[in-house]
C-alpha cells in the first residue's frame, strides 16, 4: 500500500459542534489515509462520529461544526479550514457522495435525467454535446433497465433500490477519484443491498476509484473493504485488514460489533419452544388477497398480494415471516389485526373464526393482540411523554386510572430495562433503540398473548438490533407471549424465531423450523436470502 499516493490524508483531525453555546466534540484526533483505488470502511455505532468524518472529507460540515485542529488533505489540498470555493472545486470532480437514504436523497420535483445531467455539466461544461447520451449511458452502467424511460421519470416513480442506483450514477458523473458511501444501503432489503453493493464495488474497481464506506454493520464492511477502521465516541480505536480485525480484535468494542453482526455472531439458536398446544393461537388458512389497481393501459388491473397463505402460531412461540418489500408480509399482519379483510380463506384466533368480524367484535381481541411498528422514530407521539405513551392502551380500554396507572407504567418500563426516570421524558430525548423499548412496553401494557412485530429492528444499528432481540427473547421467557416477527433479513430472525416462513410474491416458498431453513434451505429463493446476509462472504472464506 505504501507505493500508492494517498488521495485523502487526515492527521490529528478534531471536529466540534456548537449546540446552545456548548462545544461538543464529534471527532477527536483521527488520522487516516485513503490510497488510490483502495476500499476503506469506517465502522461504528450511531453517534461515533463516522458521518461527521465523511462530511468533513466532502467539505460539507454543517454551519455549527468547526474543524478545531488537525489537517485534512484531499488530493493534496487542505480543505479543513479552506474557503467554500475550494471545497466546491473538489466536490463532484474529486470526491463523490452516495448518500444514506435513497428515498429522500433525490429532488422530488426534478426528472432523474436532469439531476444526473446537472452533475455532468459541472464536469464537462454546459455546452457538452453528448450530455443526453451520457446520462443514458450512466443509467445503463449502474444497472437500470429502460434507461431512456428512467431519465424522463421522477424519483417517486422508482423503487428505493433504483433510486440508490441513480444516486450512484450521480456520484459517478463527475468522474471522481473517491466515492464516499454513507450507510449506502441500510434502508434497503438485504438482497437489493447486496446487488447494489456488488455493483458499486465492480464499477469502482473498473475505474480505479477509491471507495470509503461508512457503516454500522461490520458484516458489510468486512465483505468489501481492503481495510476496516473502527470508530467509537469520535476516536479511531482500531484499524486493519478485515481478517485481522475479525480474528483478533484488540478492543472490547470491536468484539461487541462482531458479536452483533449476524453473520459472525455466534448467537445461540433459541431454546426449544414450549410444547405446542392443541389449538394454535393464530392461524391463517389458505388466505388470499387482491388489491385493485388504477386502470392503466397494458397493465394488470389487480395486484395479487397474498395467494394461498397458511400459517400457525402457537402460544409462547415465535414465527418469523421473511421476504422482500412487496412480498406481502405487511398484508399478513394487517389481515391478522383485522385491519384488512381477506378475499379468500379464514383467520382463526384461539380457535375462533374471526374472518368476518366487524370493528366492534374485534375490539375485545385487540387486548390480546398488539402491534410493534417498524420505525421507532415515528411510532411514538412526539408530544406524549413516555408515561403517556405507555399507559395509553390501559386508558383507552378504561382498565386503570390514577395511582394504578403509575404503578403499571413503572412495572412496564422496568420490564423493558429502561430507568424509571425516563417516564417523564419526551420521545425526542431517547435514542432509536430506547424508543423501540418504549414501543414494546406500550404493546405489553394490555398483557397480550400475541405480539405482531413489524420489522422491529430494521431502522436500528446492528449492535442495538442485537440488544432489542435479546430483550424480546427474555420477555418471551418471562411472559410466555407469542411473536409474529416480520423481517426482510433472515439473519435478524435466526437467533429468536422457532419457525421461519419465507414469503415471495405473496406465496409461501418455504416453512419450517429455523435450524432446518438455515442449514438445509429447500428453495433457491431462501438460499439467495441467506447469501445476501452481510459478512457471509468472509465468514465462508475463513
Amino acid at each position: 500500500m505504501s507505493e500508492r499516493q494517498p488521495l485523502v490524508e487526515v492527521s490529528g483531525l478534531a471536529v466540534s459542534y456548537r449546540f446552545a453555546g456548548q462545544l461538543v466534540q464529534a471527532v477527536r484526533d483521527v488520522s487516516l489515509s485513503v490510497g488510490a483505488g483502495e476500499i476503506l470502511a469506517i465502522v461504528g455505532e450511531s453517534g461515533s462520529g463516522k458521518t461527521t468524518l465523511a462530511n468533513a472529507i466532502l467539505g460539507l460540515l454543517p454551519d455549527n461544526a468547526r474543524v478545531v485542529s488537525g489537517r485534512l488533505l484531499v488530493a493534496g489540498q487542505d480543505i479543513g479550514r479552506a474557503p467554500e470555493r475550494l471545497g466546491r472545486q473538489l466536490r463532484g470532480s474529486v470526491v463523490g457522495l452516495v448518500p444514506q437514504d435513497p428515498m429522500v436523497s433525490l429532488n422530488p420535483t426534478l426528472r432523474i435525467g436532469r439531476q444526473i445531467a446537472e452533475a455532468l455539466i459541472r464536469a464537462r461544461g454546459s455546452r457538452y454535446p453528448g450530455l443526453d447520451a451520457e446520462v443514458v449511458a450512466l443509467l445503463e452502467q449502474v444497472g437500470l433497465d429502460k434507461p431512456l424511460l428512467r431519465a424522463r421519470q421522477y424519483p417517486h416513480e422508482l423503487s428505493g433500490g433504483m433510486r440508490q442506483r441513480v444516486l450512484i450514477a450521480i456520484a459517478l458523473a463527475g468522474d471522481p477519484r473517491l466515492i464516499v458511501a454513507d450507510e449506502p444501503t441500510s434502508a434497503l432489503d438485504v438482497t437489493v443491498q447486496r446487488r447494489i453493493l456488488d455493483h458499486l464495488e465492480r464499477l469502482v474497481k473498473e475505474r480505479g476509484i477509491s471507495l470509503l464506506i461508512i457503516t454500522h454493520d461490520l458484516g458489510v464492511a468486512a465483505d468489501r473493504a481492503d481495510r476496516v477502521l473502527v470508530m467509537k465516541d469520535g476516536e479511531l480505536v482500531e484499524q486493519g485488514p478485515p481478517q485481522h480485525i475479525l480474528v483478533a480484535p484488540r478492543q472490547d468494542y470491536t468484539r461487541a460489533l462482531i458479536a452483533a453482526a449476524p453473520a459472525f455472531g455466534n448467537r445461540p439458536r433459541p431454546a426449544a419452544p414450549p410444547p405446542a398446544g392443541e389449538v394454535p393461537l393464530l392461524a391463517l388458512e389458505d388466505v388470499g388477497k387482491h388489491y385493485r389497481l388504477p386502470r392503466l393501459k397494458g397493465e394488470a388491473s389487480s395486484l395479487r398480494a397474498l395467494d394461498g397463505v397458511g400459517l400457525e402460531v402457537h402460544r409462547g412461540q415465535t414465527l418469523a415471516i421473511v421476504g422482500e418489500s412487496g412480498s406481502g408480509k405487511s398484508t399478513i399482519l394487517r389481515i391478522a389485526l383485522g385491519l384488512e379483510k381477506p378475499d379468500r380463506g379464514r383467520v382463526l384466533f384461539d380457535g375462533e373464526d374471526v374472518t368476518g368480524f366487524g370493528w366492534r367484535q374485534f375490539r375485545p381481541l385487540r387486548r390480546r393482540m398488539q402491534l410493534v411498528q417498524q420505525n421507532p422514530f415515528a411510532a411514538l407521539d412526539p408530544r406524549f411523554s413516555i408515561f403517556d405513551s405507555i399507559v395509553e392502551p390501559l386508558v383507552s380500554f378504561g382498565l386503570a386510572k390514577g395511582r394504578e396507572l403509575e404503578v403499571a407504567a413503572r412495572r412496564l418500563i422496568d420490564r423493558v430495562r429502561l430507568p424509571t426516570a425516563y417516564l417523564d421524558r419526551l420521545p425526542r430525548e431517547l435514542s432509536g433503540g430506547q424508543r423501540q423499548r418504549v414501543a414494546i412496553a406500550r404493546a405489553l401494557a394490555l398483557q397480550p398473548d400475541l405480539l405482531l412485530l413489524d420489522e422491529p429492528v430494521s431502522a436500528l444499528d446492528v449492535s442495538v438490533q442485537a440488544q432489542i432481540l435479546d430483550l424480546l427473547d427474555e420477555l418471551q421467557h418471562e411472559l410466555g407471549v407469542a411473536y409474529v416477527l416480520v423481517s426482510h433479513d433472515l439473519a435478524v430472525v435466526g437467533s429468536i424465531a422457532h419457525r421461519v416462513l419465507v414469503l415471495n410474491k405473496g406465496r409461501v416458498v418455504e416453512q419450517g423450523p429455523t435450524g432446518q431453513v438455515f442449514e438445509r434451505p429447500a428453495s433457491d429463493y431462501t438460499r439467495e436470502l441467506l447469501d445476501a446476509i452481510p459478512g457471509r462472504r468472509l465468514a465462508k472464506a475463513s
Binding site: L60, R88, P99, D101, S105, P108, T109, A119, Y154
Partner: protein, 318 residues
C-alpha cells in the same frame, strides 16, 4: 384528466351558487325596508306617502313578492346574464360594474404582482444571505408587515409619498401614478404572508437530504437554492395565493375608501349600506367567480409543479 376537470368546474359552479344564495339570504333578512331606503335616497320620507302608492311602488319593484320568488327571479336573470337594475341608482347593474370593475381589477392585479414579487423576493433574499444578523433581521420583517393595519399604512404612505415627497397623487383614479400607493398598501399584508410561508419552506427544505446530494455534485449555494430548494420550498405558496386573492377583494374595499378611488370596493360598500340587493349580489358573484377561477387554476398547476401529485385515483395499497 378531463373527468377531473369536469368535476372541478362543477364544484366551482356549486360554490358560486352557494355564495350567491347565502349573500341573498343575509341581505333579505336585514331588518330594513328596501323601499324606505330607496325613497330616502331620492329625498322622500316613506311615512309621507299614501298607502296605495307605497303598495304600487312595491309591486313595481317586485318587492311585494315572497322571499323565494324574488330569489328565483334574480337567479334566473343572473343566469341569463341580466344582473338586474340597481335599486338606488336607477341604472343597470351590468353598466355600473363595467364602469367600476376595470379600476378594481387594475388595482388588485398590480397589488397581487407586487405582493408576489415582494414576498418571494424577501424570502429568497433571506434564504440567500448567510450573515446571521442580517438573516435574522430579514426573517422578522414579515411579522412587522402584517401587524401594521392597512388603513394606517395607507395614511402613512399618503403622508410621506404624496404630501411629503409629492411623488404620487394622494387620491383619485387618474392614470398609473394614482395606482401605485393603493396597490402598495394592498400588497403589503399579502406579501408578508407569502414571505413568511416561503421562509419557513426554505428552512425545512435546507434540511432535506437531497440538498446534501446537490452540494455533493459541486453546485454553489446559489445554484442549489435556485434549482433544488426554491421549487420545493414554494409549493405551499401556491395554495396560499389562491386564498389570498379573496383577501385582496375585501382589502380593496378598505383601500379604495382610504384613497377615494371609485372601484368595485366602494360600490359594494355603498350598496350594502343602502341594501341595494342586486348590486351586492352582482359584486358577490363576480368576486366569488374570480376566487373560484384562481383556485381552479392553482389546482391545475399543482401537478405540473409537483410531479408527485397526479389527478388520478389513489392506489389502495399499504
Amino acid at each position: 384528466m378531463s373527468r377531473y376537470l369536469i368535476g372541478r368546474v362543477g364544484q366551482a359552479l356549486l360554490v358560486l351558487w352557494g355564495a350567491y344564495s347565502i349573500a341573498y339570504a343575509i341581505l333579505y333578512l336585514l331588518p330594513a325596508d328596501t323601499l324606505a331606503i330607496m325613497l330616502s335616497a331620492s329625498g322622500l320620507e316613506i311615512d309621507s306617502l299614501p298607502e296605495e302608492e307605497i303598495a304600487r311602488a312595491r309591486a313595481y319593484y317586485g318587492l311585494d313578492r315572497s322571499f323565494l320568488e324574488q330569489y328565483f327571479d334574480l337567479l334566473w336573470g343572473a343566469l341569463q346574464g341580466d344582473l338586474g337594475q340597481s335599486l338606488t341608482q336607477n341604472r343597470p347593474v351590468a353598466e355600473l360594474l363595467a364602469e367600476r370593475l376595470p379600476q378594481t381589477l387594475s388595482l388588485a392585479g398590480l397589488a397581487i404582482l407586487l405582493s408576489l414579487a415582494g414576498g418571494i423576493g424577501l424570502a429568497y433574499l433571506t434564504a440567500y444571505v448567510r450573515w446571521q444578523p442580517l438573516k435574522a433581521a430579514l426573517a422578522r420583517l414579515p411579522s412587522l408587515g402584517f401587524s401594521i393595519p392597512v388603513f394606517w399604512m395607507g395614511l402613512l404612505l399618503i403622508q410621506v409619498f404624496a404630501f411629503g415627497l409629492g411623488w404620487f397623487p394622494a387620491t383619485g383614479n387618474a392614470g398609473f401614478e394614482s395606482l401605485v400607493l393603493p396597490a402598495v398598501t394592498l400588497a403589503i399584508p399579502s406579501a408578508a404572508v407569502y414571505a413568511q410561508v416561503l421562509q419557513r419552506g426554505f428552512q425545512c427544505v435546507w434540511r432535506e437530504p437531497y440538498i446534501v446530494t446537490a452540494y455533493a455534485k459541486g453546485l454553489s449555494h446559489g445554484q442549489v437554492q435556485a434549482r433544488h430548494a426554491f421549487k420545493n420550498a414554494a409549493l405551499p405558496l401556491l395554495t396560499l395565493i389562491g386564498l389570498q386573492v379573496g383577501n385582496t377583494v375585501s382589502g380593496a374595499v378598505l383601500v379604495e375608501t382610504i384613497f377615494t378611488r371609485s372601484g368595485v370596493g366602494r360600490l359594494v360598500q355603498e350598496a350594502v349600506l343602502r341594501q341595494d340587493i342586486p348590486v351586492v349580489l352582482a359584486v358577490v358573484a363576480v368576486s366569488a367567480a374570480a376566487f373560484v377561477a384562481v383556485n381552479l387554476i392553482v389546482d391545475l398547476l399543482y401537478p405540473t409543479l409537483d410531479p408527485r401529485i397526479a389527478h388520478m385515483p389513489e392506489v389502495s395499497q399499504p
